[in-house]
Symmetry: C2
Subunit: 141 residues, 2 copies
């Protein structure tokens, strides 16, 4: 059976992005084995530390997660004692999130892991190619 039309799955941007994302996730998992964080958990913890305190919905928007997704991520980070929830007396709908001491203690190693995974994932490209790739990727998201 010939490939339909002239379509090549291997050149489809969605297929390539899916594989690139998979590959980075695998690299990150190795890099962050000591911290024991997934890329998603790292993003949520990193942004929480950066802001000091943040509502769950705002955190979700900043790290590109659905409210339903961020709920699960926050639940697991809270269960591990890396972030804490508190109430906002001004808005009783919201959950205010803050990094705990354990979360702050972990963020240094976690950031180092992320930097290692960044370098490893981009290693097949030269420095200039990495710069171009990241600039183009920025314009697609």
């Amino acid at each position: 059976m010939p490939p339909p039309n002239g379509f090549l799955l291997e050149d489809h941007v969605g297929f390539l992005l899916r594989k690139a994302h998979q590959r980075h996730a695998a690299i990150f998992q190795v890099s962050a084995a000591k911290a024991g964080l997934t890329p998603t958990q790292f993003a949520a913890l990193c942004k929480t530390v950066e802001l000091g305190h943040v509502t769950q919905n705002l955190l979700g928007r900043l790290v590109a997660m659905d409210p339903a997704t961020v709920q699960g991520v926050v639940r697991r980070l809270t269960a591990r004692g890396l972030i804490a929830r508190s109430d906002d007396p001004m808005d009783r709908r919201t959950a205010v999130l803050t990094a705990t001491e354990a979360g702050l203690a972990l963020i240094g190693e976690a950031v180092a892991s992320a930097q290692r995974s960044h370098s490893t994932a981009l290693a097949p490209l030269s420095n200039e190619e990495q710069r171009v790739f990241l600039a183009l990727l920025h314009r697609l998201v």
Copy 2:
């Protein structure tokens, strides 16, 4: 709280790849609404049509899916009657997959959907930038 080190989550390649993948998936879902296929299901069906018949494990390797993942994808495609399973008398471990008439009837529209999602996802870039981006992305996967 200042960002740890000089780390910016927004410039992390994993974070950008995750968002780019999300964005394409959303675009594909709209493009392929008529076909009713997810990007993953499309990849599996497309490769099955291209090869005529393929074992489930080989299909998984060709479309970058874990055996556990491809099992679920094939189960759903089979349930919809788009592909069929048969036995290989030479190797009773394997499941041989073939596209059904319904699968063949759907592939044209599905490929057109994929081509539309490809163009839409890359629309922020010029033709030359698209070429460069895809070439670099190819080298990362």
